[in-house]
Amino acid sequence: MSTERENIKKELKEISTEIGNLEKRNPFRVPDDYFEYLPHEIQKRKRVSESPAELWLGFFPREMIRITAVTLILIVAVATGLLLVNRHDQEMMVTHEDELYFEEYLAWYSEYQQLDFYEFISENNFQADDGLASEELLIDYLIDYSYYYQQSIDELIED
């Protein structure tokens, strides 16, 4: 190396006397004992990279892992959103309990307010296929009708 150093110095002086005569100094410094700790830092990194999780992930480029992670987060976010919307829809759907409620309501209504009820049916031109309003068809009709107008059955009939 010392011969090469002399060659370099000679060559430099031939190209530029001024630079060839300059004392060569490093314009930068490093933190104290940096080079002492550097091998330990590299060993530490080597050990981490050899852990099973890192080995498994090491098969894939970092960029791919990042994109996959972002995609998964987006999928989870969209799925959560859909679930919440669906739950809201399910709450709006007619359940068996609703039907029971209407049946009871109808029983009560037909018993105590038969006139109003028949008036409501005739006003809305409701007719079953056989020309008679069967109980089951009436229930379905009232359920649909109340949901359509977002009103209770009392309000519907009163209107």
């Binding site: 190396m1 090469e4 100094r25 490093v30 091998p39 830092e41 590299i42 990194r45 080597k46």
Partner: protein, 182 residues
């Protein structure tokens, strides 16, 4: 700690029964050269530190397949050069700035750098740095600071010896011109 030749280190790595120990000896032998080579390219200590670790980590992963066609030292320099240039390209893209602007950013960092020691060489260095970036190589650094032979530089930079001599000559002239003007 005894200093091993490249051939001895490789032999120890492949046949010594403890590749980790051989690798550690290699790190100890080349840590400073690799670090300073990177530091002169990327300027910032934190960046140079990260990249130096990356280089040795890549060397650890690739040492098994290293065929010793070139010297260990040359191989490490090549990895370091590639990593540094790739890092600078990514950083430049991150700033969305043309090369000249990015050079100015780094030059300012040199100006205000806490590790700065000498004004005259600092200015000298800034010019060299810009020159190196434009040429996507570091012929001046490898020759002037690392005292490499042209043949070794040729392997590192994958350029002919003739082209490197011309590039080095040009770089020295540029530095001289810069010093005269400042």
């Amino acid at each position: 700690m005894a200093t091993y030749s490249d051939a001895e280190l490789l032999d120890l790595f492949h046949n010594g029964g403890n590749p980790g120990y051989a690798f550690n000896l290699m790190v100890v032998k080349y840590r400073e050269k690799v670090y300073w080579h990177i530091r002169r390219l990327v300027i910032d200590h934190e960046d140079a530190n990260d990249l130096t670790q990356d280089v040795f980590f890549k060397a650890w992963k690739g040492l098994n397949g290293f065929r010793a066609d070139s010297g260990l030292f040359t191989w490490l320099y090549r990895i370091a050069s590639n990593e540094s240039l790739s890092f600078l390209k990514k950083k430049k893209m991150r700033y969305f700035l043309p090369w000249q602007d990015y050079e100015n950013i780094l030059a300012e960092r040199v100006d205000s750098g806490q590790y700065l020691m000498e004004m005259r060489l600092k200015k000298n260095y800034r010019k060299q740095f810009c020159h190196c970036l434009r040429n996507k190589g570091s012929s001046f650094n490898l020759r002037y600071y690392d005292e490499m032979k042209y043949e070794e530089m040729s392997e590192v930079l994958d350029t002919s010896v003739g082209a490197l001599k011309a590039s080095y000559h040009h770089a020295v002239k540029k530095v001289e011109e810069h010093l005269k003007n400042h």
